[in-house]
């Protein structure tokens, strides 16, 4: 069998310039909430995403998830310009970690929605609580068949 991992890795590289411009494009929306990402921030987020994918043993097609996370969380009252880039980095890492822990049972959009809901309403801006206590509860809900998905479509991701 040929080494297929080399083929798999061909999926991962994304042109950095392209990636940066895509992330920067979210400023259009986040500016309304007083939040802006610089090119340096964008690079930091891309690196965090690549590292998180490596750590969690996942591969991703495109950068869609980062932009979805940014668009969802730029509306959170617990994020401000000072912690914006760092928080997005941590949320991206938390996302892939939760993706693994929930064993692919929750789609990207639903998971991002849940994360935002818990982050704002249960964890009051604490990513530690989100990836600790709340993730554990969510995993239990899935395991014991008590997770019924998003019951409404209040907010588009």
């Amino acid at each position: 069998m040929a080494d297929i991992s080399r083929l798999i890795m061909a999926l991962v590289p994304i042109s950095r310039a392209n990636a940066i411009s895509k992330i920067i494009s979210t400023n259009q929306q986040s500016q309304k909430h007083g939040l802006v990402l610089t090119e340096k921030d964008a690079l930091q987020i891309i690196d965090a995403r690549n590292e998180a994918l490596k750590t969690t043993g996942r591969i991703e097609l495109g950068l869609g998830v980062i932009n979805k996370i940014i668009r969802m969380f730029c509306r959170s009252p617990y994020i401000n310009q000072v912690n914006y880039a760092d928080m997005i980095c941590e949320l991206v890492e938390a996302f892939y970690c939760m993706k693994n822990e929930t064993r692919e049972q929750i789609g990207d959009d639903d998971l991002i929605y849940i994360m935002r809901d818990y982050f704002d309403n249960r964890c009051f801006g604490s990513i530690e609580l989100l990836t600790g206590r709340e993730l554990e509860k969510l995993v239990d809900e899935i395991r014991f068949g008590r997770y019924y998905g998003r019951l409404d479509d209040r907010e588009e991701v």
């Binding site: 040929a2 083929l7 043993g57 991703e60 097609l61 495109g62 869609g64 998830v65 892939y96 692919e104």
Partner: protein, 470 residues
């Protein structure tokens, strides 16, 4: 043009792995200069595009990331479909030309279509396997047909897991391609199983059953629970049967025949054993009327696989573990007298009348032995005054040690009861008193003139429980 290229560039089809066809073909084509590095990269990128499509379908568009293992699995599935497409071409060069003319997406789609048609073909073959199945108590054979194969068809996922062969197939074939994967594996498995079934159909079910029983006895196993191949065991005995000058359809080999074969093979060179084996296989195929080329090839192949084992068995003097002989169990002493088989009165009277009119002692004795089955009837006949003089001796002469010991027990009942530990047959006979009953005197006279060995055998039987309940 293809052949020209091969000669010019040193393209070596031997470097292509049939189980990793596409990627090794492309590597070899690059090495031989038939494609450029950029062409290879382009093809690889196209394959990755196909993978992206599959990932999106796999997650139903709900997830943009998946675990690496899942991606690798999807890629293996894609490559398996593409390999199936490639293998549909007669030569690697023709395949390469086709690959360069098409997009990888097309190649994948066509491969997937081929896989799906193979699933349908395999289902058809499975029907034939079921209709030709061997009636046997071999658990692995039955569970493979009843559960494993239907389970495979139920769970096989050509779209995302085409290369997977998850099925609990326990029954081993005589010759299996363990490198094949997915439905390709199942298809070859079923084709071979069908041929094995059809081969075995040429033999009587009872013969096969008996052969397997013998096999179990030779290897001291309860054969239904073991992973053995019926076809191979049948084929081997058919081959040896032919070598022993019997018909191929006769699976029964006696120990004496195996011994003769051993002697015959012992004196041969390895090459001579090989040609003897090949000609025996040919005869088996001919005698069994196997005409189908695939089945002929399979039978020959499996038969020839026997050669190293045959040579080894000859050298190790263990031919009886390869050519399974009939296992004659220790002959059960045939007891003339049986419980509960007394004649009815009318039959008994008729026998007495027949004995009285018959003058030939041997004929009278045969009459008694063929018509009487119980000890009670036997002693009643002895008491019925229908035997005279030497006729008793002729009758007793036809009895075995077991029957004589049973009769002796009747006349020595006191000695056996009083001094069982010190009982000596010779001593007891020497002191036996004359009786008023004719047959008792005749019997003791007969027993006394027996050889020492027979007397000893009867004494041994008298000291055991045998015959006591009769």
């Amino acid at each position: 043009m293809g052949n020209f290229l091969v000669r010019q560039t040193g393209f070596n089809p031997q470097n292509i792995d049939a189980n990793d066809y596409l990627l090794t073909l492309l590597d070899e084509a690059l090495r031989a200069g038939l494609i450029s590095e950029s062409t290879l990269q382009n093809l690889q990128l196209q394959i990755m595009e196909v993978l992206k499509d599959r990932i999106t379908k796999y997650t139903s568009g709900e997830s943009s990331s998946i675990p690496v293992e899942a991606a690798q699995n999807l890629l293996l599935s894609i490559l398996f479909c593409m390999d199936t497409f490639c293998l549909s071409f007669p030569t690697p060069i023709k395949c390469l030309n086709e690959l360069l003319d098409r997009s990888m997406r097309e190649v994948y789609q066509e491969g997937l279509a081929l896989i799906k048609s193979k699933v349908n073909e395999a289902k058809k073959i499975f029907k034939e396997v079921r209709s030709t199945r061997i009636r046997t108590s071999l658990i692995a054979y039955n569970s493979t047909i009843n559960e494993a194969i239907p389970g495979f068809f139920k769970s096989y996922d050509a779209a995302f897991n085409a290369h997977d062969t998850t099925a609990s197939i326990d029954y081993p074939l005589a010759s299996d391609d363990i490198n094949a994967r997915g439905v390709v594996y199942i298809q070859q498995y079923l084709k071979k199983m069908k041929m094995e079934n059809m081969f075995c159909q040429r033999f009587a079910e009872k013969e096969i059953d008996q052969l397997l029983e013998n096999y179990g006895q030779v290897y001291r196993i309860f054969y239904p629970e073991f992973l053995i191949n019926i076809f191979e065991i049948v084929l081997i005995n058919a081959i040896f049967s032919v070598m022993a000058g019997e018909k191929a359809t006769s699976l029964t080999l006696h120990k004496s025949q195996v011994a003769l074969l051993r002697e015959r093979l012992n004196g041969l060179e390895v090459s001579e054993i090989g040609s003897l084996l090949r000609s025996a296989i040919e005869r088996v195929i001919e005698e069994l009327g196997i005409k189908d080329p695939e089945m002929t090839a399979y039978t020959s192949h499996c038969g020839e696989n026997l050669l190293p084992r045959l040579i080894n068995a000859v050298q190790q003097d263990a031919l009886q573990r390869l050519a399974i002989p009939v296992m004659e169990s220790e002959p059960e002493p045939e007891i003339l007298f049986k419980l509960g088989e007394s004649m009815n009165d009318e039959d008994f009277r008729r026998l007495v009348e027949d004995l009285l009119v018959c003058a030939d002692p041997t004929e009278k004795a045969q009459m008694i032995l063929t018509r009487i089955r119980s000890l009670v009837d036997f002693t009643d006949i002895l008491k019925a005054d229908c035997l005279f003089g030497d006729e008793y001796r002729v009758l007793f002469d036809l009895l075995g040690d077991m029957e004589l010991s049973i009769l002796a027990r009747i006349i020595l009942v006191d000695e056996l009861r009083d001094r069982p530990d010190e009982f000596s047959f010779a001593k007891a006979m020497s002191v036996i008193q004359m009786s008023d009953t004719v047959w008792v005197n005749q019997l003791s006279g007969f027993l006394q003139q027996l050889s020492h060995e027979r007397q000893q055998a009867i004494e041994d039987l008298l000291k055991t429980e045998t015959g006591m309940v009769i």
